[in-house]
Subunit: 351 residues, 2 copies
């Protein structure tokens, strides 16, 4: 049928992201402008808006803004005006930036989006402070949302924050756990860590849009679930890129996760396989943290033992679950399609 | 008149603090128990409940709990039941603990209440994480308060949080400012820093009790003002102890603030005096960060130039202003008297 919505060319994932960034930007700029000038400068650097001299870097190192887009689409998907989602979009973007700042301190990650991490550029103490300022500003802005939904939105954001911090705690604790034996990290523990660390805020972003749009609880819960599955897919993709990603694209050193002894899905899945490669991998990992040459060998063994394929499957399963959660929920057609495009685009990075 | 309230023996400040701690403790224990076990262990250590092995240290290094007491008394002062203040008391105590954890990281303070700071005992990354967990839990608990006052309470806490973080930012920036000349820290800048860093949360504690107790806005504002003045008195006292305090009592190294080049009230006031001692002090401070012997001399010059007396005067003025703010507000008699006892007791440490 000519003229129906289906015939219109669907926008690409990057079109959707750009539209949402443009919608949210004034409020995000306003929120950062309310910070103390010094923490504001660090926040602008972290958001990729400026360099360490405070000079504008238009669009240079800006993130994709996935979380703010999810908040906007969450509202549109429940038939509300995109504008009502903006306080939620700002809050999740600020919380995400807070978590990047503090995680880079905790993980001693020196690079973020191909630039020195905030703690490298400004010092550890200032980076901690800037993260605190972003977190405080995120909750403040959301708590000040006009209308009847501020309280429910704040409770949602707080729940996600607790999950996020608990997920980061798990991830750090995993580094001290053995690769093998009774103390090893099981698949359920890994899943719970990844859902907290990555899924909670993505779920919250979608859910906040719906909450601010006045959606009923079952719809909000379904969107939260979709976002959490997306987060698990996202984390699986990230784990693959952390081993096999091109440093020019990821902005991180090659084999970064292997050098840190991080318990990522590909390695855990490879070890669980029980093949000859898995046994050799176990021995190699038990001996010490890999040198550059050994990291190369670890990466090969993980692949040979099926770790990469298993993680690709994990990403695919969670992406399917996320899309299913969307399709099983009554949502407006255009937003549902844009969400689908966005979801697929995010997982497509390695598939 | 025999038999009136005035004739009953007033409790001491430590009686008041103990009563409030006992009232709040179950909810505080519950809040810490909801944290991830690892961040919960660090939180229990930071609260002085346990040592680094997680073994209980009953009462050993616990703080006085000034902020939780102010929240409880804030509710009682407006005629409400103390129980309604408990979510506020827990929130301010958790936020205070969060700020101690992160401030110790930023200031590289190795000792807190005569024990290794959390970052010294557990590492910088874990201390940052535990602070984040406490902050998230503080807002979550308050946002979940039953009744009609949760949203207003969350907004109050958020405002205080922003002030707290901005005050800490100012304090850190001051360390890079010159002692003298056009770039020197002026009295109004110092006051604004101290009000944010110390006054905002004390004011918020009192105000939260009143908000949760259903008090009208003018009463809430008066209590907030009283708490902010108390904070400024408190900071002045702290500045005096940071130079002349007995390490056995303060739990910090002697002349700690002088070695760090901190811009504290006694030094700034001494320099502003213009006496011969002030000029010698200026020269000595401009040369380099003081050695042990030079710190001794700096302390003498600050005293000779009137810095200690000026700061004692500052503490007294803000304490008077705090008590005046209380007396000018209609409050229940018993709570008002307990607040007065508490205020006096806190400033009495150096007067």
């Amino acid at each position: 049928m000519p003229g129906t919505v289906e015939d219109v060319d669907a926008p690409s994932a990057s079109d959707v992201l750009r539209r949402c960034r443009e919608l949210v930007r004034p409020a995000l700029v306003d929120a950062v402008g309310r910070l103390h000038p010094w923490t504001g400068e660090m926040a602008a650097y972290a958001l990729g808006w400026s360099d360490t001299a405070g000079t504008l870097e238009p669009g240079g190192s800006e993130g994709k803004g996935v979380r703010q887009a999810l908040a906007v689409l969450g509202a549109e998907a429940v038939g509300a005006d995109a504008a009502c989602a903006v306080p939620g979009a700002v809050a999740v973007e600020l919380v995400h930036t807070f978590s990047l700042l503090h995680d880079d301190v905790m993980d001693a990650d020196a690079l973020r989006r191909r630039r020195p991490a905030v703690w490298k550029a400004y010092g550890t103490g200032p980076a901690v402070l800037a993260g605190d300022a972003l977190l405080a500003r995120a909750v403040t802005g959301l708590a000040g949302t006009p209308g009847d939904h501020a309280a429910a939105a704040v409770r949602r954001l707080c729940d996600a924050l607790n999950d996020l911090v608990a997920g980061q705690a798990e991830d750090l604790r995993f580094e001290h756990r053995p690769w093998d034996g009774p103390g090893a990290v099981g698949p359920e523990e890994y899943r719970s860590m990844a859902e907290g660390k990555t899924g909670a805020l993505l779920g919250c972003a979608l859910a906040l849009g719906a909450v601010l749009g006045g959606a009923p609880e079952p719809t909000v819960a379904a969107l939260d679930r979709a976002g959490r599955h997306l987060g698990l897919a996202f984390q699986a993709v990230d784990d693959i890129l952390g081993i096999w990603g091109d440093p020019a694209t990821t902005g991180k050193p090659v084999h970064a996760d292997l050098h840190r002894g991080k318990k990522t899905h590909p390695v855990l899945a490879a070890l669980a396989g029980g093949s000859r490669a898995a046994r050799e991998l176990g021995t190699l990992l038990a001996s010490s943290r890999p040198t550059d040459a050994a990291a190369e060998r670890v990466a090969s063994l993980v692949e040979e033992a099926g770790g990469r394929a298993a993680t690709r499957g994990e990403a695919r399963r969670h992406l399917d679950a996320a899309r299913y959660a969307l399709r099983a929920t009554p949502l407006t057609r255009t937003a549902a399609r844009e969400l689908d495009v966005l979801f697929a685009g995010l997982a497509d990075r390695v598939m």
